[in-house]
Symmetry: C2
């Protein structure tokens, strides 16, 4: 015989906190509180296994369930001593609540006061000597039960209630007396009978089974199913049902109800924090009709409340509560969020669970608890959601400031910023040079806008997704960005933007909140992040715990400095193409593209060489002693050519050719699918002189820095977009030759490795061969995701909305790595690459390097490091630490956190 029902109450329980899978979170904690000897109204939990059975057997119950429930009901009656379920004189009432492992919207929540009927209500009235209380409880029960169990919509009851209030000429429900409520009950029951074609059930046992069935039934509502799919919660987890004796906080002035946090959930301060209401039921707190009072005098004073604190009103109960606070924290070793009720001066605990908190509070609580010895440092590290750090590292809107939101888009890069709206990159740069703060507004950005994005405080685009050019670059630079705000229409010609009938001109102030994806009118004040000592302390502990390295993607000295400040241990991706877009360079670059032979290209490259060497010199100085992965030129050449006729003419003039030549070359270079075109190592295969120049710039800079400072960087020359081993073989030879030449010329041999970015499915499959040439692999999971899914991240924005709506994708694969598809390719490449070269260095440098779930994946397959935007380095450090602590269970981090 299976045990389907677990009883608790009176300082004893058949369950425990660690039986969460079987009893759900709520049931397990109720049992645990009983075992701790806390005052918990007696009750029982019907296990999640019943839910599973229910669905595996055509919505029917196990044969022996009814007997077990009867026994458990009898158990409650024994514990409450003088009341019986359904007894006309002394009726026992119960609450019925769902309790899954993870709380889930769409599930039935609560039915209170179950057991009331036309007979027992009289008993309750007599017993409490309070007919108004009894009939108020009955009418609430009818409404709640009819709604969640019988499917009669709320409005039916609201209508009747309004009518009654009108008749009696009163405003508030509380002004209705017992007689009025009695009449209301009659009307309610009539409406229910009308709606369902049967009278409202009077048999308490029928009521109980109805409520149990409603909880199990709600497990499969579309909303619950979709939620589970989106959050990866397995269907067979099921939900438990908790049935518990009612206690009443609304029987008089020696009654109360409240909620409390064992520490301050917004600051993390070690102070008791909570609110209560005298003579009220839980739902009154939620309804917001009455102003809740503070638990403590300190809380009351801090908030300038005039209402008395519980500490003053019910000092005995308060002392008891304080004692419970300490016992729960010591026991659960985490900040708790509790619910309680006081009935006729007696305290009852109704729930405890880990409390939600702000990131700042989470840091403080974790550090405090670890320093007081309550938890160890690993546990403290595990208590912070890495993603949540993001909000700490950027300026945020002043929470007290007023704001007029004019549009919303995607929260593409966190931080809040205000500035004058400008509509071209050049203007952004010009205004910034004058000391103005600007927000660059574009339909979408392209590599040509980089200088303007750099000059701006924030970026706003009307197209593109979370991984559009604007979003990726903004995150890399740490600029606030709202992307894809589709309601805004940008007119570059008139330098205006239109939204909701409003026109905003060049120079008008706007504010973007990249964390919320909001665009606001005017300047909204922001507050600077204060990285408290707790942050630093916790990151230190994280660094001790983690085994993977964390590097940053950084293309400029400024990025490199930010990266080191945030704790990066090297550069995992230094893109060289951004270097080509700056003023003088783009001229030379275009000369190279327009040259029709190798000699012409070499002449142009000779001009670029010293500039590129300078870029590297700066970065290498900042990163000396550390590895710097430099990716050779990657984008297709047409990205460097101008688009408009006027700019084409300028380029023609500068290069001394006619505009037709420029136009012809642009046409020649045009590609249907540039993502899959003439880019990456394909450029170097076609024009080896580009690779030569870049290798020379790298090695000369490395040698120069070593000569100057006594310490050079460890250069990792990365060849992008390898599909075939021979590509790397040919280019490695060139790079090695240039290294030999530089060594011969300078008398020093730069420290370097040659490796490749693994970003094509074929490269993953042929990793064993490629590793014969490559000393390191860096997984370029952005492009790998694009090719594996056949999905352009620039274009996906237009239809991924339909995918999200239908729950087809659990998450955006550009944000968090697609473990099943892209992940398998990365695993294959890792295994095959190591088979050829056991000490091959493996890292990841896609956007995923800063995503905690992806970092956990990287840790699981044993990568050496992850690399991400400078601003995400702390997130990656923390995520890597948590992954290391979780060990092989790292892949359930995402799910566990939901629970």
């Amino acid at each position: 015989m299976s045990k389907w029902v677990f009883e608790f109450g009176d300082g004893a329980a058949e369950g425990r906190a660690d039986m969460r899978e079987l009893l759900g979170g709520k049931g397990a904690n109720l049992a645990e509180m009983c075992l701790l000897g806390l005052p918990v109204p007696p009750g029982f939990t019907i296990t999640t296994e019943v839910c599973t059975y229910y669905y595996q057997n055509g919505r029917s119950y196990p044969d022996d369930l009814a007997k077990q429930i009867d026994a458990a009901l009898a158990g409650i009656e024994t514990k409450v001593a003088d009341m019986k379920f359904g007894d006309a004189k002394a009726p026992l009432l119960v609450s019925v609540r769902s309790g899954a492992r993870a709380s889930m919207p769409g599930m039935m929540d609560t039915v209170l006061n179950l057991g009331l009927n036309d007979e027992t209500v009289e008993g309750l009235a007599a017993l409490s000597a309070n007919p108004r209380f009894a009939y108020d409880s009955y009418r609430r029960f009818i409404q709640m039960y009819s709604n969640v169990v019988l499917g009669v919509e709320h409005y039916n009851f609201e209508e009747i209630l309004d009518l009654h209030k009108e008749e009696r000429n009163v405003q508030l429900d509380t002004e209705l007396d017992a007689d009025a409520l009695k009449n209301l009950v009659v009307a309610y029951k009539a409406r229910v009978e009308d709606a369902i074609g049967a009278p409202f059930p009077q048999d308490p046992r029928e009521q109980l089974w109805g409520a149990i069935g409603a909880v199990f039934g709600s497990w499969m509502t579309p909303r619950a199913v979709t939620y589970r799919r989106l959050h990866g919660i397995p269907e067979d987890w099921g939900t438990a049902v908790n049935v518990q004796a009612m206690v009443f906080g609304n029987m008089g002035d020696d009654c109360a109800t409240g909620v409390a946090f064992t520490r301050d959930p917004s600051t993390g301060e070690n102070a008791f924090y909570g609110e209560y209401l005298v003579n009220a039921q839980g739902e009154d707190v939620v309804a917001g009709i009455r102003t809740p009072q503070h638990l403590t005098v300190a809380g009351k004073d801090a908030n300038g409340s005039e209402l008395p604190a519980m500490e003053e009103v019910m000092p005995d109960v308060f002392t008891q509560l304080c004692d419970i606070r300490g016992r729960l924290e010591t026991h659960y070793r985490d900040m708790q969020d509790v619910e309680f009720t006081v009935q006729n001066g007696k305290l009852w605990m109704l729930q405890t669970r880990n409390g939600k908190r702000t990131t700042q509070a989470a840091l403080r609580i974790a550090v405090d608890m670890a320093e007081s010895g309550l938890i160890d440092r690993s546990t403290a590290v595990g208590r912070i959601e890495p993603q949540a750090l993001d909000q700490l590292l950027h300026p945020a809107l002043d929470p007290n400031a007023e704001r007029i939101v004019i549009a919303t888009g995607l929260p593409a890069s966190p931080g809040a910023a205000s500035g004058k709206a400008v509509f071209t990159a050049d203007e952004a740069e010009a205004e910034a040079a004058k000391g103005e703060r600007v927000i660059l507004v574009r339909t979408e950005t392209s590599p040509e806008d980089i200088h303007g994005m750099h000059a701006a405080q924030g970026i706003l685009t009307t197209r593109g997704g979370m991984t559009s050019h604007a979003a990726v670059v903004a995150r890399g630079m740490g600029r606030a960005c709202v992307a894809g705000a589709g309601d805004i229409q940008v007119d570059e010609k008139t330098r205006t933007m239109k939204v909701g009938g409003r026109t905003i001109k060049d120079g008008e102030w706007i504010t973007v909140d990249g964390a919320a994806g909001e665009v606001m009118l005017g300047e909204v004040p922001t507050v600077k992040p204060e990285l408290s000592g707790d942050f630093a302390t916790l990151m230190e502990w994280a660094d001790v715990a983690r085994t993977m390295g964390v590097r940053a993607n950084a293309d400029t000295p400024e990025d490199a400095r930010t990266a080191r400040d945030f704790g990066a241990e090297g550069i995992g991706l230094c893109r060289t193409e951004h270097m080509f877009f700056e003023a003088e360079r783009i001229v030379a670059m275009r000369e190279m593209i327009l040259a029709d032979n190798e000699a012409g290209r070499r002449a142009a490259l000779d001009k670029i060489l010293p500039m590129q060497r300078e870029d590297f010199t700066e970065i290498f100085k900042i990163m000396r002693g550390l590895p710097v992965t430099i990716r050779l030129l990657d984008p297709p050449l047409h990205e460097f050519l101008p688009r408009g006729a006027q700019e084409m003419q300028e380029v023609a003039d500068a290069a001394g050719v006619d505009i037709d030549t420029v136009r012809r070359r642009a046409t020649e270079l045009h590609e249907a699918n540039p993502m899959l075109g003439h880019r990456g190592c394909r450029l170097a295969i076609s024009y080896p002189e580009i690779c030569e120049m870049q290798a020379r710039a790298i090695f000369e800079a490395a040698v120069a820095v070593e000569k100057e400072t006594g310490e050079g960087p460890i250069c990792e020359v990365m060849v992008p977009l390898i599909a075939v081993q021979e590509e790397l073989e040919i280019l490695k030879k060139i790079i090695d030759r240039v290294a030999d030449e530089v060594a011969a010329e300078t008398g020093r041999r730069p420290a370097y490795m040659v490796g490749t970015m693994i970003e094509l499915p074929r490269a993953c499959l042929r990793a064993a061969e490629i590793a014969e040439q490559a000393e390191f692999f860096s997984y370029g999971t952005n492009d790998l995701t694009q090719t594996t899914f056949g999905l352009s991240r620039d274009d996906a924005g237009s239809f991924l909305q339909y995918y999200e709506k239908q729950g087809i994708l659990e998450h955006d694969p550009f944000t968090s790595i697609d473990v099943d598809g892209v992940g398998e390719l990365v695993s294959i490449a890792t295994e095959r690459g190591r088979r050829t070269r056991p000490d091959i260095k493996l890292g990841i440098c896609g956007e995923h390097g800063g995503d905690p779930a992806s970092v956990a994946f990287c840790n699981k397959i044993g990568l050496d490091y992850v690399s991400c935007s400078p601003f995400r380095v702390p997130i990656a450090r923390l995520a890597a630490a948590q992954a290391a602590i979780a060990g092989d269970d790292g892949d359930v981090v995402r799910i566990a956190r939901e629970a």
Copy 2:
């Protein structure tokens, strides 16, 4: 002790024909001819293992090689009885030839007359009583040896020879007498000494070792290395060296040299075919100075030659040769290509090998030999290169016609066609409607040009590769196409094309040869293919042998008919988007795209439904009883929108909206990488009503055909571009629902399956899940190649040239499947798909379905069928048969054919 040297001669041999790996093709066949008792000059073969040893041991020889060579030389001397190598009086001369398993350009070919020096030349003069012959042989030897062994370039000797001829005032080499040649030898030797700083080697043994070393050395010349890489020949195969006693066809009028084929290599007729020259050496035939004579009287008569046939001149030798012809064919069971020399009336055989032949000849020979019982039918099937059938199935240029080639491009679709040059699809259609033949000339084609391509006889583009839109569509339609003729500049505005200073206007006649990739001026006459009975017979045998099905990719009734004529067993890919481009439909299609809500889209789709149903009805009638795989709408919607302002206005007018709406929608739909954008099943996920309409058209048509003819098709509804199982799950539900509706409405249930095109790496990896929904997979290896390589076939043309030059890719992965990368993904999907659903139907419908090597791959991994262009169906049938016959060795088909 290893055996490094194998002797042959005098009716005996240590080797055999099946020792090709060890002795190379030439050596093995020389041995075999000896064993057959044919007259072969004695000699020996140094094995390929020596070559391998040579490279594995720093270019040194095995210790015991010299001893074995000395013994073998002595063996020759024994067999020729009265001559000795290096003997001043009776010098034995030898030839030294390379002989790999597969003949290879870049390898050293031949050194003749080796053993001659200042002393032995006199002996030869005396022995032959022909000093001119002796000195001529010596000067030829010096030149040949110096060139191939010592690296002295030919021009050195040509210079001296010209000088001598000038001095003597003669025109031809043959006019130089013995004295002149003697002087020439002196001058030659001086020039050699000058060039290499040492005298020309006089020691015959040194000469011999020099020549052997030159053969082995030539195995690693860059040209040979590249050739091997391109043809997949392993480096460790090595080459053999053949050393053989010289016989002379140039010692007098009872001497001759010649080549013969045992059957006619151009028609395959069972007639002896060959040419000879009296008193000549082999190289004279090649030099083309003298006109060769026919072997047979019949040959002489047929060619209107006045020179006597060997049958007449040397009847005895001819009879002997005829006897050998019969014996060789009976023995080798294939048509042989032999070389022979007659020295003083005695016939010597110098080589036999399988003869090259035209496809028509190959068919005839294979069928004749099988019918005469010489070979079995499987062998006959294996004798035809499937690819070669292509030339049989299309019209070809009259080989006797004159032609002025004005440009060359890629041979994108076989067949030759003439017509008036037209520059737009509309014009092509208009002219064709008037009965004109036209060639459509475009920079590149797009789906909007389909109607024009259909109306044209041939297509010429100046951009794009072998798998560009033009090429793919032309092959599918069986239209001749030359693609990527980069020298031509098309000006659509003035309706002209320019090439090499010539301007061709609208309406001028041009001819394209899609098999050769040539563009010609004017009309060049063509000849129709005659598919003789041999073709039909052989294809019948192939169908018996093969185990895989062969279907065709067909979008129109015309294609479907062609496909059945060529033996297709169903349609493996019916693309529906081409149906949307025709006149009325595109209007409705555009209406749908411009609609801004579902109702608007449905209204437009309602107009398309009956037209689409009609398309399917026609095709289903042709294919009744057979499977037809219909792919739901695949291309991104912007492909259907107009590009120019005028056309936009027309569309706006037709749809009753303003042009700004059209322009805005076009901008909204614009994509950076359409290949990776909003297409395939993503359209149906966004707009399920499109999927509904198409499913309805399919099912209604299927039911109608079944009602009309008593037999419907087996509809395979194919959902394209699945990346995630849920996509298919959602769309399958819609398709199943529509099927139910049609069944309810019509009273008949259409026979159908739902499956997917596997064309993304992720789909391959997740095939196990996808197969839960899919009843069939069709591998779309075009797109799978694009995503696996990250390579756009439209854009690859611009840089793949650099890849070919450097030998990075063995073959174009869009032409022949990349077994290592794409192939592994297909294997993974096959294995995982079958694990979930053992009876899942598996096929391939990319361009690869018509490529023999790819067909062999499909057979190896056990696919159920391949599908290809109608015109390639016979190729696929033959390739499938060969793959089935080859069994598990199928993957070496490509290499073996080279050998």
